[in-house]
């Protein structure tokens, strides 16, 4: 666990000694305590909006294992050569310096719901009055026969930040002309619904730009259809000819096995041998800390109250982002950021006499198909009959003008700058 200078300067007693960390929320406690687990779009946003300009009504502690945050959003633009790796990495410093949030660099391993404490990897405990849980996803390593955690170097998923994202780019760069890339797409529900298809677009963009026009990208999908399919597929044909081939389950008849050592993928219909690169994006579930705390069904996602983002199992815990079941909202950074603002409003209402308003949510997912050619899908959402339901939705259309597509990409880039500023500054 790392203490920042700000923690010490602020005299945040909660961080100075383990005995203080475990102190219950009684007698002489000046301020209510909020612990936020996970520094992604859900957690970082929630921490900032709860701390609110550091006005000190609430003690906010953000627990995050990593020193920096690599965004999964726009990692496909890094893979496609549109952004450097440094451009998708961000720091947490301003959350401490500008908002007085205590940053605890540690892995949270467990939640003691009875005592209202978060247990860290080194055994220390952080007491909370409200807990905001935004742990993201875990991968189901047993969801593709023959694939495993040990195989993730040979057949990378690239669905978590860091080395895995970089591995995808390295493998793509090594594909020879005429080589075959097989992408195994995930079943619903998963992080970033259009992500696999934007990534395939970026593969094709890089291969085309580097003179490897005989290479092939085969997407084996367990789903009958996918996000923005009606726009992606005609665009692929227009931009990349026959380079990208999408096969649904009725065509490939199931993914029977993969062999990471030989680069083989066997479906019910065909075997792909000596693949230049196999990208396995497996099935997903809520992060372990949420599942282990009994907030999600086995292998699933956490149920939440759509009006508050609170776990339906524990009224002192909020679950945000990819780890929760947010009804019609997709698992996206934008969604998590939106949900965090509802949670922050409710937390401040309960702990700092803040005013509360009816929950409202928004999301947009942009995808880059080729240079200056982006598409989008999104909507507004509200609580309705026990779930978060879409009220207004929109989606790009095939055959839109070059100017609209160029504007959509400009919007995509501006959104990235804005949401990162919203999370980290």
């Amino acid at each position: 666990m790392k203490l920042t200078r700000r923690d010490l300067a602020a005299g945040s007693g909660a961080l100075l000694a383990a005995s203080t960390l475990a102190a219950p929320a009684v007698l002489g406690q000046a301020k209510p305590r909020v612990v936020v687990v996970g520094g992604g779009p859900g957690g970082a946003t929630a921490a900032k909006y709860i701390a609110k300009e550091g006005n000190d009504a609430i003690t906010v502690t953000l627990v995050e294992e990593n020193e920096t945050y690599q965004t999964c959003f726009h990692s496909n633009l890094y893979i496609g050569g549109f952004k450097s790796y440094d451009e998708i990495v961000h720091r947490y410093d301003a959350l401490a310096s500008a908002y007085g949030i205590a940053l605890v660099r540690a892995r949270a391993t467990q939640i003691d719901r009875d005592k209202r404490e978060v247990v860290l990897a080194d055994g220390q405990r952080l007491a909370y009055d409200r807990l905001v849980l935004s742990p993201g996803i875990d991968l189901k390593y047993d969801s593709v026969p023959g694939w495993s955690k040990d195989a993730e170097e040979l057949m990378p998923h690239g669905w978590k930040p860091g080395r895995q994202t970089q591995l995808i780019k390295q493998k793509l760069d090594a594909v020879p002309d005429g080589g075959v890339i097989v992408m195994i797409a995930p079943p619903n529900p998963y992080r970033c619904p259009p992500g696999p298809y934007e990534r395939a677009s970026m593969f094709a963009h890089v291969l085309t730009q580097t003179g490897r026009k005989q290479a092939k990208i085969i997407i084996l999908d367990p789903k009958e259809s996918f996000s923005k399919q009606g726009v992606f597929q005609p665009d692929w044909e227009r931009r990349y000819g026959a380079m990208i081939e999408w096969l649904g389950p009725k065509v490939h008849d199931g993914i029977k096995s993969v062999d990471p050592r030989t680069g083989t993928v066997v479906t019910g219909f065909e075997s792909y041998e000596n693949c230049a690169f196999v990208n396995v994006i497996p099935a997903q579930m809520a992060g372990a800390i949420a599942r282990d705390a009994g907030l999600a069904p086995a292998g699933g996602y956490c149920a939440i109250d759509p009006a508050t983002m609170k776990s339906t199992a524990d009224a002192s815990i909020f679950v945000l982002g990819d780890a929760c079941n947010a009804g019609d909202m997709p698992k996206s950074a934008f969604s998590a950021n939106s949900q965090a603002k509802v949670a922050a409003m409710i937390v401040r209402g309960e702990l700092a006499n803040g005013r509360t308003f009816p929950a409202r949510y928004v999301n947009t997912c942009w995808s880059l198909v080729d240079t200056d050619d982006a598409i989008k899908v999104g909507g507004r959402y509200e609580p309705k009959e026990g779930r978060i339901a879409a009220t207004d939705t929109f989606i790009s259309q095939p055959g839109e003008s070059d100017e609209i597509r160029r504007q959509t990409q400009a919007e995509n880039l501006a959104w990235y700058a804005a949401i990162c500023a919203d999370m980290f500054t």
Partner: protein, 104 residues
């Protein structure tokens, strides 16, 4: 006496300036604005694809939102956002963003 007169003058000026803002709900504006800041930077910085929206005159801010509502402006994201904003919501947003100054 002079100080008291000054205060009275200030109060009078405030009374004249106040009605325009009185309708807008600041706390509501702040909450609703958090929806906008996923795309529009609070600092007023803009990288081109999405405009800065701080420091605008309030009537202009409301007029632009209403034009999305009538689909005279064609951005799909903004049309969907505006579809659920009441006039009070728009006034609250206009007051909140209108009062913000660009950060260096």
């Amino acid at each position: 006496m002079r100080a008291a007169a000054g205060l009275a003058l200030c109060a009078a000026l405030f009374a004249i300036a106040a009605p325009a803002r009185a309708a807008a709900d600041k706390a509501l504006g702040e909450y609703l604005a958090s929806e906008c800041t996923s795309c529009h930077q609070l600092s007023g910085r803009s990288t081109g694809g999405i405009p800065a929206i701080i420091g605008w005159p309030e009537p202009q801010f409301v007029a632009v939102l209403e034009s999305y509502g009538r689909k005279e402006r064609d951005n799909q994201v903004m049309q969907a956002i505006v579809a659920r904003l009441s006039h009070d919501d728009m006034a609250a947003l206009a007051a909140y963003f209108g009062a913000l100054k660009p950060k260096p």
